[in-house]
Amino acid sequence: GAGVSQSPSNKVTEKGKDVELRCDPISGHTALYWYRQRLGQGLEFLIYFQGNSAPDKSGLPSDRFSAERTGESVSTLTIQRTQQEDSAVYLCASSLSGGIYEQYFGPGTRLTVT
């Protein structure tokens, strides 16, 4: 079956522009996570969706960041007024449910803000 897919794979944008990153989770996975990974660093949790529950937004670094999820399918991470420090790889993961289930990661979107 298909794994987690993300698009675009690479995005170059100018400072101040808005960007949208897309994640298609594995079908049937109710949990979806967004992470940010800066060059040479670990994963920084951003936001977590679980079914119809209110998302856990505790990791979003500023109000320029937001994310939505349509039901238990695709999710979009939006970054408004991008800054150079937003440059990173944005990773999406899904799991069968929240809690103690393996997270399956997508290939990531590499965002470069010039």
Binding site: Y35, Q41, G42, L91, I100
Partner: protein, 106 residues
Amino acid sequence: SQELEQSPQSLIVQEGKNLTINCTSSKTLYGLYWYKQKYGEGLIFLMMLQKGGEEKSHEKITAKLDEKKQQSSLHITASQPSHAGIYLCGAVDPRFGAGTRLTVKP
């Protein structure tokens, strides 16, 4: 949330040597994942631990979760160049450690 501290941050070993990577939590872990990430590639799931004292092995990699469920270790026996990469521990709440960069010299 709970912070996860990984040590060391980076590790360089000679091929054939054993090594250990540690992951420490400030709070009780209700589940811990270990992932491996190779440069330019995605994350590969290695193991998941849930119970205090649990130990799992896959090929030459063994992971343990201590009885108090606040510390986990990942041990690689007879390291090979193919083991090189970044090892990440993650909790189920979810949080990840900063990673340990492993280099194995042939």
